[in-house]
């Protein structure tokens, strides 16, 4: 038996990955964020219809550290970040691993618009040359990055209207199969103002109750981060969780207990915003790799 070549050939990428992780931490330390660790194994996740947790005895592995991060915000911690593992059952493709690395950061007295500026600053910190060359495409990182609302994206890139797509439950299909492939690739793009029914933890936009203050960041056509201004109303959050949970159960999914401590403590959450960014996909972009398999030592299939 010769040494495992699938591991040997990843050395250059894994070394670069380690350097990028150090640079990400340096960015947040410089901005006086507090690095936090929260438990990976938790009694419940925020109920979301299309995100399935992996069970761990009678608890779950986290699908995101967001509930604990927001409890810290509610206790007065105002600038937090975490780099951790998250698990999402059944997600596997060239850009998905069922266990992957997430970067989340949260700020009090902040909103989703300001988080877009944070994204620009983070990427420019990692890439002072303001450019990514990924799979034959040159991506210009000069700010400001393009902002397209979901409504604009539907009218520009889809033959179906947004209201029709919501009515027929085709929203996700059109985003994935019609809109994502047509998003500009020579520059990062923020897709913003998601319909409220597609943003269960986000604040509703004060001047337009149809949409939430949520965005997704796409770079090179690949979804990299999801962010929103946080919903801070415990009653409204409880209603939305109850609704998501009943839809989950209708779809035959594992029931989640209600995250009661989170809901209680939400009462003291100041206006805040938070974002989750897929580290493995970021490494793919920075190492010019087309598959997530190339930026981790082991995929589940190699264990």
């Amino acid at each position: 038996m010769e040494p495992n070549w699938q591991l040997i050939r990843k050395r250059e990428t894994l070394e670069k990955r380690a350097r990028i992780m150090q640079q990400i931490r340096a960015f947040f330390i410089q901005q006086q964020f507090l690095e936090i660790e929260t438990p990976h194994r938790i009694p419940t996740n925020a109920p979301e219809l299309h995100i399935d947790a992996v069970q761990s005895a009678d608890w779950f592995l986290q699908t995101s550290p967001e509930l604990c991060m927001k409890r810290l915000l509610a206790a007065g911690y105002d600038k937090l970040y975490q780099i951790c593992r998250c698990w999402r059952d059944g997600e596997r493709s060239k850009t998905h691993l069922p266990e992957y690395t997430m970067l989340e950061w949260y700020r009090s007295n902040y909103d989703y618009q300001q988080l877009m500026c944070d994204c620009e600053a983070l990427l420019l910190h990692l890439l002072p040359d303001r450019q990514i060359n990924w799979q034959g495409t040159t991506i210009d990182l000069s700010s400001p990055w393009q902002r397209i609302t979901v409504a604009e994206a539907f009218s520009s890139f889809s033959s179906t209207s947004l209201s029709e797509a919501l009515r027929t439950d085709e929203f996700d299909v059109i985003i994935a199969l019609e809109i994502e492939p047509k998003l500009p690739r020579n520059q990062p793009v923020f897709l913003t103002e998601y319909p409220t029914e597609h943003a269960s933890l986000a604040r509703i936009k004060p001047d337009n109750p149809m949409v939430a203050e949520r965005f997704e960041l796409y770079i090179g056509g690949m979804e990299l981060a999801n962010a929103f201004s946080e919903l801070t109303d415990p009653e409204e959050q409880k209603r939305r969780f109850t609704n998501e949970e009943s839809q989950r159960q209708k779809a035959g999914k594992t029931p989640y207990p209600s995250p009661d401590l989170f809901l209680q403590e939400l009462a003291t959450l100041p206006p805040a915003a938070g974002i989750a960014l897929g580290i493995d996909r970021l490494i793919m972009l920075l190492c010019n790799q087309s598959s997530i398999d190339e930026v981790v030592g082991f995929t589940p299939e190699q264990l």
């Binding site: 059944g90 493709s93 035959g252």
Partner: protein
């Protein structure tokens, strides 16, 4: 029954009463949206190819195919010829029917022929096959680290990435599920 999480390249499903094989598979999931399973399917009887996107919650019937142990003999103008070692009965499968499986056939290899109503419509390969490298450029020492791997062609015409130390004439093991290099084979 299969669920969406069972879908993968090579899985055989019964659709409208006919066996189909997934020849290309991709999972996608927009933001916090629902999982979508993009499949390119081939009708195993007619050879027709088409695309279909499934959503989580859908279920599928497995294609119930019987299997017959046979030996691969050779390839001629009519196609790839297989023989039942007990009855000496022969069946021929065309390149179109075999798809990428044709790259992993070695003379005298034992395979399982997939049968649908007495009709041979495909094969089931062993997980690993050994094939000889017939062409690969020598690796130049001092090349950048990206040259850790290089393209190589094996005896069946299949091309794949191999480590730079694999020379022409080397027998290598390939994983037929992924088409990837596994290791050199000691002879």
């Amino acid at each position: 029954m299969y669920s969406c999480s069972d879908l993968k390249k090579g899985l055989k499903l019964l659709i409208d009463g006919e066996p189909h094989v997934i020849v290309k598979y991709d999972f996608t999931k927009p933001g916090k949206g629902q999982s979508l399973y993009k499949c390119k399917l081939r009708n195993m009887i007619t050879g027709a190819l088409f695309d279909r996107t499934y959503r989580s919650g859908e279920s599928f019937s497995p294609a119930s195919l019987s299997e017959r142990d046979m030996q691969y003999l050779y390839k001629d103008e009519s196609g790839h010829v297989f023989m039942d070692k007990e009855t000496y009965e022969q069946v021929i499968l065309t390149e179109d029917t075999l798809g990428d499986d044709k790259y992993f056939l070695v003379d005298n290899m034992d395979v399982e022929i997939l049968m649908h109503d007495e009709l041979a419509i495909g094969i089931s390969l062993p997980i690993f096959v050994n094939l000889r490298v017939t062409h690969s450029d020598p690796w130049v020492k001092g090349d950048t680290a990206a040259a850790n791997n290089k393209p190589a062609t094996v005896e069946t015409g299949y091309t794949l990435q191999v480590p730079s130390f694999v020379d022409e004439g080397t027998l290598i093991q390939i994983d037929t599920r992924t088409g990837n290099y596994v290791t050199r084979v000691k002879e």
